[in-house]
């Protein structure tokens, strides 16, 4: 299994994530897809050379769009399974190894993963943690898979996937992007093609911080201005579903209209979480979601088993985010450090 790490001009973040793999997953096999400027590439070369983990450093023109870069990277090796993890995301490989094994057992599944915790450091001393709960999407037909997924979407790309599937996903993403529909579009096109296997454990810790990722308010009507992209996503999901066993065109159209309509309603100010009764029934009120919420609470509760299991990992990540936010390490030119 290869882990592909896209990076561009964040040398301190790349250094941090390489150190993380060396410390917690020293047998991981990494490929860095580097789209940095020449000075930063030089610094990254040093980091890779000194890494205590197997890393291949692939350098690309800084002007090459990220999805083109990743497509090229994926065509350079033959491994069946891939994890895509950017330089500020920290996978829990114990969980993702279970995901890989489930994909071997389940050829009809295209990707698998565990729950995702987002740690967003928003200002000095302030942060929030957010939970995305993964769920089994294992219906035999694409309309039902998209219906189940769309009832409570989650990011499907933080996990393990078949390499051929990731290539298909990137082929779509190099022609399509709309920020407010990104995760939904990726998820719908993923489950249109096949099943998703959920591992009910912590799978990925994704981070953001106020230095590298300053808040960018989206223009309120962006989803209307990008309506052609919304429809392009609809058509892409439909086309992928049409290639899958059990396809029924009318059902797929109904589901896509419903799911995209709900997303549009959320963007217009009426998210499904606010719908009366949302917390009292599936998909929210289910053992999977309840157990994930408990895991999430325990992750930040002293003395819990989950906390003990991940305390070292979290302390390491905290330490590196602190270094990155307290300095200009990600932005200073090479040679100035």
């Amino acid at each position: 299994m290869k882990i592909v790490i896209p990076t561009a001009d964040r040398p301190a973040s790349l250094q941090a994530v390489l150190d993380y793999y060396a410390r917690f997953h020293p047998r991981a096999e990494l490929v860095v897809a580097d789209g940095s400027t020449p000075e930063v590439k030089e610094r990254n070369r040093e980091s890779v050379a000194q890494a205590q983990v197997a890393v291949e450093h692939q350098e690309y023109d800084a002007d090459l769009p990220v999805f083109e870069r990743l497509l090229r990277t994926l065509h350079t090796f033959e491994r069946e399974f891939v994890i895509m993890g950017a330089d500020d995301n920290y996978p829990v490989l114990e969980t993702l190894e279970k995901a890989r094994k489930r994909l071997i057992e389940r050829p009809e599944a295209v990707c698998a993963g565990g729950h995702v915790v987002h740690l967003d450091v928003t200002a000095p001393g302030r942060a929030s943690a957010r939970l995305d709960v993964v769920r089994h999407i294992n219906a035999d037909n694409p309309a039902q898979r998209m219906r189940v997924f769309g009832s409570l979407p989650f990011p499907t790309s933080y996990g393990v996937a078949r390499r051929a599937h990731v290539i298909a996903r990137l082929e779509f993403l190099r022609t399509w992007y709309l920020r407010s529909f990104y995760e939904l579009g990726v998820g719908l096109t993923d489950v249109a093609r096949g099943q998703y296997v959920a591992i009910p454990e912590l799978g990925f810790i994704c981070t953001s911080n106020y230095v590298d990722d300053p808040p960018r308010a989206e223009e309120p009507l962006a989803y209307l201005r990008g309506a052609d992209q919304v429809l392009a996503m609809h058509d892409a999901a439909y086309e992928r579903a049409a290639q899958a066993p059990g396809f029924d065109g009318d059902q797929v159209r109904d589901v896509l209209s419903s799911v995209i309509g709900r997303r549009t309603a959320a963007l217009a100010g009426a998210p499904q979480h606010q719908v009366v009764g949302f917390a009292d029934k599936a998909p929210y009120k289910t053992p999977m979601v309840e157990n994930a919420r408990q895991l999430f609470r325990d992750l930040f509760a002293e003395g819990s088993a989950v906390r003990t299991q991940h305390a070292d990992r979290l302390a390491f990540i905290a330490d590196r985010i602190q270094q990155i936010t307290a300095t200009t390490a990600n932005h200073a030119p090479a040679g100035a450090r």
């Binding site: 450091v121 609470r297 002293e302 302390a315 330490d319």
Partner: protein, 50 residues
């Protein structure tokens, strides 16, 4: 009869539905990641004492 009071009632803090649903936690940084109960903190304590 009860006299009306002029004391203004403070506005209720905004409700974060995601927090209520258990899908978001407000936390301090970096303390939330480095609580004093992990093995790393234990090692640091031991190192500090040596």
């Amino acid at each position: 009869m009860t006299e009306p009071t002029d004391t203004p009632v403070p506005p209720a803090p905004p409700v974060d539905l995601m927090e209520q649903l258990g899908l978001r936690l407000r936390v301090s940084f970096p303390e939330f990641l480095a609580l004093d109960d992990g093995p790393q903190a234990e090692r640091k304590k031991r190192a500090d004492q040596e």
